[in-house]
């Protein structure tokens, strides 16, 4: 959209755009900035203005404290296990469903698709009243299996992305596989699965962020101390260290860094996922 005039005169509307962007930049970065500077402040600096710089950026006491008391290492390793297992399940099941819906015509196809799509509108948390007793009766309460199974089973957004993608892959590729005598399973595994790579990349990143951020499922199903994940670790830590802002800020910072890095390096996939998922959603 070319709104900028080609005359070279100063354009007030353009100036206004930069004013808005400056305000937004400030609003977005101000809270993280305050967290950042306060994570390095010692307790006796607490009286200083919250936006003053710390006396030293080499004061890592708060970080050491958090590492020590908030089970951060365990939280990260549990979170990693849950993310990895859920993603493997999601990718395998998602591509399988997309293959059947995208490549095989059968009666009841629209019913199956509809069943998956309808499920996406039910807020997961509302059914926990029932799912909780289900998980309990399966003996998975207080185990990593509970969130893994729920993240694989209850969340089916990935089918959208895969289905859109598979419909854009020409059917001639399948046919050439058939001419070579490949089985359908082989065509799925050796031709389509690799071609779905970009969709898988998008999905892996978006789901990683979702699962990393999820609070209530780990909170409800894994109250056991050793089964702490990132979200529940900071919740417990902040609950036990009310108003010790230096410590809490250090914990916030430690937890925010992984997804922020992931985002900065892989933004392309994230944006394409958000745009595709939304337009078709």
């Amino acid at each position: 959209m070319q709104t900028k005039k080609q005359t070279g005169h100063w354009d007030p509307v353009n100036g206004l755009k930069y004013v808005f962007l400056a305000i937004a930049t400030f609003a977005v970065l101000f809270p993280p900035y305050v967290v950042f500077v306060n994570a390095f402040k010692a307790e006796n600096e607490g009286g200083d203005s919250p936006f003053a710089l710390p006396r030293s950026f080499l004061n890592f006491d708060n970080f050491a404290n958090v590492m020590d008391r908030a089970n951060i290492v365990q939280a990260f390793s549990n979170t990693f296990l849950i993310v990895a297992a859920s993603l493997i399940g999601n990718v395998i099941l998602g591509t399988m469903v997309a293959y059947v819906l995208g490549r095989i015509e059968f009666r009841g196809e629209s019913v199956v698709l509809g069943a998956f799509l309808l499920a996406t509108i039910i807020p997961t948390i509302t059914t926990q009243v029932v799912v909780f007793s289900l998980i309990q009766s399966m003996g998975m309460y207080n185990s990593l299996l509970a969130p893994i199974l729920l993240f694989i089973g209850a969340d089916v957004i990935q089918i959208y992305i895969y289905l859109q993608f598979i419909r854009n892959i020409p059917y001639e590729l399948d046919e050439s596989g058939m001419i070579d005598g490949a089985s359908l399973f082989r065509i799925y595994r050796s031709i389509l699965f690799p071609l779905l790579g970009p969709a898988t990349a998008t999905l892996v990143i978006l789901k990683t962020i979702n699962i990393y951020n999820e609070l209530y499922i780990p909170f409800l199903y894994m109250p056991k101390q050793e089964l702490v994940v990132v979200s529940t670790s900071i919740m417990r830590f902040a609950g036990n260290n009310q108003a010790q802002w230096g410590n809490i800020c250090a914990a916030i910072l430690i937890i925010m860094i992984p997804t922020t890095l992931l985002y900065l390096f892989l933004q392309k996939y994230i944006f394409s996922g958000v745009m595709n998922g939304a337009v078709k959603g």
Binding site: F20, T25, P31, A119, V129, V130, S231, I248
Partner: protein, 294 residues
């Protein structure tokens, strides 16, 4: 499998590939939904093997007890802030869709809050909103606006606006990216044509850009509404529903009714009501979108 005909393979693959996903879908989505409905007519306590049939009593309780249904009033600020959030998101999408220096950097930055850990963001804002040490009050003091200093999370009449504005901070960039995607799918020729016809940029915005966004605006509005219906995380983490229950939401009440008061029957009825509202919103959305499509 190689010796099978392709039509036999198709049948086999269809069954094999759909069995597990459909089983999971039934187990964790449809079975709970049906069970929720059945339970909602009983007084089940979550433990006993048996429960008594209450008919519609639970639903009567949901709709007539102001302590339950009345908490929806707390969720109005989330709708208000959500609408503003969409307007601001469109504004920034239009700005970043124009020729402007550093637009990719701005896009990356505005989207950044969305990918941050939700719980970490909540505690970050607890610090922002803190009455004595908080950076917002310090900022207001610095600007000479002491009269606006507040107990942001402790004042019953503004706590929900404070919480909703955290949602604004997190999701504005996300909405913006969605709008940006829609803007980029408007063909450039249309802008060229508008230019040739002598349309100024406000006319272009009003008669060309916004009409092309209608569908996505409606979609986002409905998402905002259903999101506002099921607010949970922020008050759960930050205020525990306080002060004096002012920031409790319907979903928090539901979860509390089930897991603290062991009244699974009533909690199920509340879940069903919430689900019904979500479905109604969706149905209205579909009706509106389809009518526009004709």
């Amino acid at each position: 499998m190689n010796n099978w005909s392709y039509s036999a393979q198709r049948k086999l693959i269809m069954v094999a590939f759909l069995a597990v996903p459909l089983a999971l879908l039934c187990m964790f989505t449809y079975y709970p939904a049906v069970r929720l409905l059945v339970q909602s007519f009983t007084d089940w306590d979550g433990i006993s093997a048996s429960s008594e049939w209450l008919g519609l009593d639970n639903y009567k309780e949901v709709f007539t007890n102001p302590a339950l249904f009345g908490v929806f009033l707390h969720q109005i600020p989330y709708v208000v802030i959500g609408v503003i959030q969409n307007i601001v998101a469109i504004l920034f999408a239009v700005i970043l869709n124009s020729k402007i220096r550093g637009r990719n950097a701005f896009r990356v930055m505005l989207f950044l809050p969305f990918i941050m850990n939700a719980v970490a963001v909540a505690f970050m804002f607890q610090y922002v909103f803190d009455t004595t040490n908080g950076s917002l009050n310090a900022l207001l003091g610095f600007l000479g606006l002491e009269s606006l200093q507040q107990s942001w999370l402790g004042n019953t009449s503004i706590v929900n606006y404070s919480l909703a504005s955290i949602g604004f901070w997190r999701f504005m960039g996300y909405n913006m990216v969605i709008y940006l995607g829609a803007l980029q799918s408007i063909p450039n020729d249309m802008y060229e044509a508008a230019k040739i016809d002598g349309s100024n940029r406000f006319q272009t915005l009003w008669y060309l850009t916004l009409p092309n966004l209608t569908k996505i605006i409606q979609l986002n509005m409905f998402l905002t509404l259903s999101g506002a219906l099921s607010v949970f995380d922020l008050p759960f983490v930050l205020t525990k529903g306080g002060p004096a229950g002012a920031s409790e939401t319907f979903l928090m009440k539901t979860i509390e009714t089930a897991f603290q008061f062991n009244n699974f029957g009533l909690a199920s009825a509340m879940s069903v009501v919430l689900l019904a509202f979500t479905v109604i919103i969706l149905a209205v959305q579909n009706a509106v979108l389809n009518r526009k499509g004709d």
